[in-house]
C-alpha cells in the first residue's frame, strides 16, 4: 500500500486562487450515506447554479470589454471615414458620404453603440471597414492557425520548462546556474529578434524549414519555438523554485526511504507540488500567447488572429478590433474556468472539499493533516502570493 502525496504531505504551498467551494453557497454537501435527499438532484442543482453564475459573469465581462473598447476607439481623434481611406487618397466627397452612410457613422454615438449591442445580441459582429468581410467569418478563418500556434508553443514551453527544472532543481550549482542563464536569456530576448534569428539560421542558411506560411507541421516549428521559448524561460524558473521547495519537505525523505529513485521522486511527487503555481500563471500565459502571436505571425508571415489584430488596429478597423477584444475576453473567461477545474485535478484536497469529506475519511493521514491544511489555505505561502500577483498583472 502506497500513500498518495495528498495523504502524506503537509502541502508546503497552496493555490492563491482557490476555486469557490460549492458547499459555501449551494445546498450543504451531501452526507456520505445520502440520507438528506436524492444526492444527484442536489449535485445537479449545485452544478446548474455554478454554471449559471459563470455564464452571467462571462456575459458581464464581455459587455464590459465591448463597452470599454467602443468608448476607447471613439475617444481617439480623427474622422473614421478619412481613416478608412488613409492619408493619401483620391476618393471623391460622394464616396466619402456613401461610406459614412453605409457604415452608419452619420448617426449619434449612442445610437451607434446601441445598434452595435443589438447586433451583438443576435450574434452579428458586423463587417470590417477595411476588408469588407463579416468579422465573424474573418475571426473564424483566422482562429485555427493561431490556436495551432498557441498550442504548439505551450507544448514547447511546458516540455522545455519541465525538462530544465526537473534536471536541475537542487542539483549542482553549476548546472543550476546554466539553466538559470538560458531561462533568463529566453525571457529577455525580444521575440521579434528571436524569430528572425531562427529564420536566418534554420530557413535561410540551413534550409530545414520553410520561411513562412501556415501549411503543414514544418511551417509551425520555428514560430512555435519563437513563441514558446520565452514562456519556457518563465515557467522553468517558477517550476524550479517550486520543485526546490518541495524537495526540502520531509515526505521526500520518506519516499526515498521507500526505495524510490531521485528522478522518480521528482517526477511523481515533487513535480506535482510545483505544478500548482504554474497553473496560477495561466492568465499571464494566455496574455503572452495572444500578444506574442501578433509579433510572431508578422515575422513568419503566418495568417492568424495576431496578424488580423495588427492590421485592424493600425487601420483602426473598429468592428474587427471590437471582435478581437470580445474574443480575447471570451478566451480569458474560458481559461480561468478551465484553470479552476484544473486545480481540482492537481490538488486532491480541493476535490475532497468539493465532494464532502466522506469518501476519504477512511484514510488516516488525511484526517491528521486536516487542521494544518485549512491553515495553509488561509495563508498562502509568500512565494505563491508573488506568483498570483504576476498572473494578475499581465
Amino acid at each position: 500500500m502506497t500513500a498518495t502525496p495528498a495523504s502524506s504531505t503537509p502541502w508546503p504551498a497552496t493555490t492563491g486562487r482557490r476555486p469557490r467551494r460549492r458547499g459555501d453557497d449551494g445546498p450543504a454537501a451531501p452526507h456520505p450515506d445520502g440520507s438528506a435527499g436524492p444526492v444527484w438532484a442536489r449535485v445537479l442543482r449545485g452544478v446548474a447554479a455554478a454554471v449559471g453564475r459563470r455564464v452571467a459573469a462571462a456575459a458581464a465581462v464581455m459587455l464590459g470589454a465591448a463597452t470599454t473598447a467602443f468608448i476607447a476607439l471613439h475617444l481617439l481623434p480623427g474622422d473614421p471615414v478619412a481613416i478608412i481611406l488613409g492619408p493619401s487618397t483620391m476618393a471623391s466627397p460622394e464616396v466619402r458620404a456613401q461610406i459614412r452612410l453605409d457604415l452608419g457613422l452619420d448617426r449619434p454615438l449612442i445610437m451607434q453603440y446601441l445598434h452595435y449591442l443589438g447586433q451583438l445580441l443576435q450574434g452579428d459582429l458586423g463587417e470590417s471597414y477595411q476588408l469588407q468581410q463579416p468579422v465573424s467569418r474573418l475571426i473564424g478563418d483566422q482562429l485555427r492557425p493561431t490556436v495551432e500556434l498557441a498550442l504548439a508553443a505551450i507544448v514547447v514551453a511546458v516540455v522545455l520548462a519541465v525538462a530544465s527544472a526537473v534536471a536541475t532543481a537542487g542539483r549542482r550549482p553549476g548546472l543550476r546556474a546554466l539553466a538559470n542563464l538560458w531561462e533568463l536569456v529566453a525571457v529577455s530576448t525580444p521575440s521579434f529578434w528571436l524569430g528572425i534569428l531562427l529564420l536566418t539560421a534554420f530557413s535561410f542558411r540551413i534550409e530545414l524549414f520553410p520561411v513562412a506560411g501556415a501549411d503543414g507541421f514544418s511551417a509551425l516549428v520555428l514560430p512555435a519555438l519563437t513563441l514558446g521559448l520565452p514562456v519556457a524561460g518563465i515557467l522553468g524558473q517558477v517550476l524550479r523554485e517550486g520543485l526546490e521547495t518541495a524537495l526540502e519537505q520531509p515526505f521526500v525523505t520518506t519516499a526515498r526511504a521507500r526505495g524510490l529513485s531521485q528522478t522518480a521522486v521528482r517526477l511523481r511527487h515533487a513535480l506535482r507540488h510545483a505544478t500548482v503555481p504554474l497553473v496560477t500563471l495561466s492568465g499571464w500565459l494566455t496574455g503572452t500567447l495572444l500578444g506574442g502571436a501578433v509579433l510572431v505571425e508578422k515575422v513568419f508571415a503566418r495568417p492568424g488572429i495576431g496578424a488580423l489584430t495588427l492590421q485592424a488596429v493600425s487601420s483602426r478597423d473598429m468592428p474587427v478590433v471590437m471582435g478581437v477584444v470580445l474574443l480575447s475576453a471570451l478566451v480569458f473567461v474560458v481559461i480561468s474556468t478551465a484553470v479552476d477545474l484544473l486545480y481540482l485535478a492537481i490538488d486532491p484536497r480541493l476535490r475532497a472539499e468539493d465532494k464532502g469529506r466522506g469518501p476519504q475519511h477512511d484514510q488516516e493521514p488525511q484526517h491528521d493533516q486536516e487542521p494544518q491544511r485549512e491553515q495553509n489555505h488561509e495563508e498562502p505561502a509568500p512565494d505563491m502570493k508573488k506568483a498570483g500577483v504576476k498572473g494578475a498583472g499581465t
Binding site: L76, P77, G78, D79, P80, A82, I83, L85, G86, P87, S88, T89, M90, A91, S92, P93, E94, V95, R96, Q98, I99, E127, L131, Q132, Q133, P134, L138, D141, Q142, P145, I196, L199, T200, S203, F204, R205, E207, L208, F209, P210, V211, A212, G213, A214, D215, G216, F217, S218, E297, V299, A301, R302, P303, G304, A307, L308, Q311, S314, S315, R316
Partner: protein, 554 residues
C-alpha cells in the same frame, strides 16, 4: 509535411548557362520597356511555377473599389485592358482593336476584339464594358480610385455587340491612359453580380479575361494564379502569342523586409519586390539572383510647402527651404545610392517630364540665408533659430509612423538638421492616423509629404490645381492657387496632342518648382526587385505593373 526545397543547388547549373546573357539588372534604369525581356536566353518553354514575394497584402481584391497599387500588381495577369501603353506613352490595341476619339475629347468609341471570353466562359462584349464602367461610378460601389480614373464619365452606349461608345461631360484626355491600367480592366458579368464582400475576398469570385485565373486567396498567406489555357489575345508588344508559359504563380505576402530578402536569397521565392536599398549588396553578391531596378512613373516623393499657413505663405521662405536642404546627400546616404534624387514633382519615367529642372534648386545654404534675411527673419534666439518680431521660424512637418515607408523619416531628419543650420526649426510631431488625416482638412501643417504612382502627367492637376484643395478632399497639399497653373493643367487634360501636353506640363513643373516654390522633390520612387536567374521574360509595364505573361523558367 512539406520541407522547403533546396532550390539553390538545383539552379546553380542553370546559372552558369544564363549569367552571361542576363547581365542586365542593377545598372539598368530603363528596364521598363514593355516587351524587352530581361533575360532572353534560349528558347522560352512552357510549364513550371513562380513564387513571387510581395511586401504588402491588399485589404480588398476588388480593383474597382480598392485604391491600393498592390491589388493592381496582383491582378494585372487576371484582367485585360482595352488598350496597352508603351514606355513612350503611345497606345496600342489590346481588347480594343481600334478606337476613335472625338475632336472635343468627350466621346471615345472602341471596336472590341472578337472571340474574347472570360475564364467563366462568358463572352467579352460591349455590354460587359458598359456594365463594368457603370458599376465603377455607381455610388454604392464606393470606388476609391477607379472612379477617379473615369473622371467626368456620363455613361456608355452599346452600339453593337463589339462597339462601345464612352461619353464624358467634359473633354477628358487622360482616359486612354486610364483604360490601360488594371483598375479599369474587366470583370465578367457574373463577377459583377457577386456581393461586394465576395469580390473583396478575391479567389474565384474574381473572373477576368487575362492569361491567368485567380484560383485562390488565403488571408495572411498567399494568392494563387493558374494559367488560362484558352488565352490568345495578348497585346502586340508581348513577346509571344497564345497562353502564358507559367502554369502557376504564387504571390506570397512577406511584409517583413528581412524575411522577404531571406526567402529570395534562400531560393524559397523566385522573385521578391521592394528589396531595401541596404540589402542590395547582399542580393547582388548572390549568383542566383539579379536585381531589376525600375523607376516608378508618376509623382516623385515630394514635400509640399503649405502656402496657406504660417511662414511659408512667403515665397522667399519657401525658396529658402528648397535651397537650404542638401537633399542630394540625404538621398544618397539613406538609400545607398540606389534611388535618384528628384528635381520635378513628376518622375523621369512619366510622360511630359521636364528634364530642364535638373539642378534648378541645387543646395545653396548661403542663398537660402539671404532669402530668409530678405523675408525679415533676421533675429536669432538663444538656440540659434531665426526670429521675426520675437517669433521663432518654426515649421511643422507632421508624420504618421505606420504609413511611413522607405525610411523617409531618416531623410526628414537629414533635412531637419540642414535647415537648423540656416536657422529654421522643423518639428516632426508623430501623429496617430486619425489626427494625421484630419490635418489635410484643417490645414494645420507647414510641410506635407507623399508620393503617387501613375503613368500620366495629369497627376499635376490633382497636385496643384486650385479645384483640388485638400479641404475638399483633393491632393493640393501646398494649397496653391495659381491661375496660370490652373489654366495649364486644365489645358493638358483637354488634349491628346503630345507636343501641346509637353508644353503645358513642362510649364507647370517649372512654375511650381522654381517660381511658386511650393514643392521640394526628394527622390524617385524605385522598384528594386530581386529575380532568380532562371526566371526570364518577366517585365514591368509603364504603369509599373509586373507582366507575368511572357515569364518562363529555364
Amino acid at each position: 509535411m512539406r520541407l522547403a526545397k533546396p532550390v539553390r543547388l538545383a539552379f546553380a547549373a542553370a546559372t552558369a548557362a544564363t549569367l552571361v546573357l542576363t547581365s542586365c539588372g542593377s545598372d539598368s534604369g530603363s528596364d521598363s520597356d514593355a516587351g524587352t525581356s530581361g533575360a532572353a536566353s534560349g528558347k522560352p518553354k512552357a510549364g513550371g511555377s513562380l513564387t513571387y514575394a510581395l511586401d504588402v497584402e491588399p485589404t480588398c481584391f476588388d480593383l474597382q473599389v480598392n485604391q491600393q497599387g498592390i491589388t493592381g500588381d496582383i491582378e494585372r495577369g487576371v484582367v485585360d485592358s482595352l488598350v496597352a501603353v508603351d514606355a513612350k506613352g503611345e497606345f496600342h490595341p489590346w481588347l480594343a482593336t481600334s478606337w476613335e476619339v472625338a475632336a472635343d475629347l468627350k466621346t471615345y468609341t472602341f471596336k472590341l476584339r472578337e472571340g474574347v471570353t472570360f475564364t467563366d466562359g462568358t463572352p467579352f462584349d460591349a455590354a460587359v464594358v458598359k456594365a463594368n464602367f457603370d458599376r465603377i461610378v455607381d455610388k454604392k460601389t464606393k470606388s476609391q480610385y477607379a472612379a477617379t480614373l473615369l473622371g467626368p464619365y456620363t455613361g456608355a452606349d452599346v452600339i453593337d455587340a463589339h462597339t462601345v461608345k464612352v461619353n464624358f461631360a467634359k473633354p477628358f484626355a487622360p482616359f486612354l491612359q486610364a483604360t490601360s491600367t488594371p483598375n479599369l480592366g474587366f470583370y465578367s458579368t457574373r463577377s459583377l453580380s457577386r456581393r461586394p464582400d465576395e469580390l473583396c475576398a478575391g479567389g474565384s469570385a474574381i473572373v477576368g479575361t487575362g492569361p491567368f485565373v485567380f484560383s485562390s486567396y488565403t488571408k495572411g498567406q498567399n494568392v494563387v494564379l493558374t494559367k488560362n489555357p484558352k488565352y490568345n489575345w495578348a497585346p502586340q508588344q508581348a513577346a509571344h502569342t497564345g497562353a502564358a508559359y507559367l502554369d502557376k504563380v504564387t504571390f506570397r505576402f512577406l511584409t517583413e523586409d528581412t524575411v522577404r530578402v531571406g526567402a529570395v536569397t534562400s531560393g524559397q521565392a523566385d522573385v521578391a519586390t521592394s528589396i531595401p536599398p541596404s540589402d542590395i549588396k547582399t542580393v547582388e553578391a548572390d549568383k542566383g539572383l539579379k536585381i531589376r531596378k525600375v523607376e516608378d512613373p508618376g509623382g516623385a516623393y515630394n514635400v509640399f510647402l503649405n502656402t496657406a499657413h504660417g511662414p511659408l505663405a512667403d515665397q522667399r521662405v519657401r525658396r529658402a527651404i528648397q535651397l537650404g536642404a542638401d537633399v542630394d546627400q540625404a538621398v544618397k546616404t539613406v538609400y545607398f545610392g540606389q534611388y535618384a534624387r528628384a528635381w520635378s514633382p513628376l518622375t523621369p519615367a512619366t510622360p511630359s517630364y521636364d528634364k530642364t529642372l535638373t539642378n534648378a534648386i541645387a543646395f545653396d545654404p548661403t542663398a537660402a540665408g539671404k532669402l530668409l534675411d530678405e523675408a525679415g527673419w533676421t533675429g536669432r534666439d538663444g538656440q540659434g533659430y531665426r526670429t521675426k518680431d520675437g517669433k521663432r521660424l518654426t515649421l511643422d512637418w507632421p508624420w504618421n509612423p505606420p504609413h511611413t515607408r522607405e525610411q523617409r523619416e531618416v531623410v526628414a531628419q537629414a533635412i531637419q538638421a540642414d535647415l537648423k543650420k540656416i536657422g529654421v526649426e522643423v518639428t516632426r510631431p508623430a501623429l496617430d492616423i486619425g489626427a494625421y488625416v484630419s490635418l489635410a482638412l484643417n490645414g494645420k501643417y507647414d510641410l506635407y509629404d507623399f508620393s503617387w504612382t501613375r503613368f500620366e502627367p495629369d497627376l499635376l492637376r490633382g497636385f496643384f490645381n486650385s479645384a483640388s484643395l485638400p479641404a475638399t478632399g483633393g491632393q493640393n497639399a501646398a494649397n496653391l492657387r495659381d491661375p496660370q497653373v490652373d489654366t495649364w493643367t486644365e489645358a493638358g487634360a483637354a488634349t491628346l496632342d503630345r507636343a501641346k501636353r509637353d508644353d503645358v506640363y513642362g510649364k507647370v513643373q517649372h512654375k511650381v518648382v522654381v517660381d511658386d516654390a511650393v514643392v521640394l522633390p526628394i527622390y524617385v520612387p524605385t522598384k528594386l526587385v530581386a529575380v532568380a536567374t532562371d526566371v526570364s521574360g518577366l517585365t514591368v509595364d509603364p504603369n509599373g505593373k509586373p507582366l507575368l505573361f511572357d515569364a518562363w523558367r529555364s
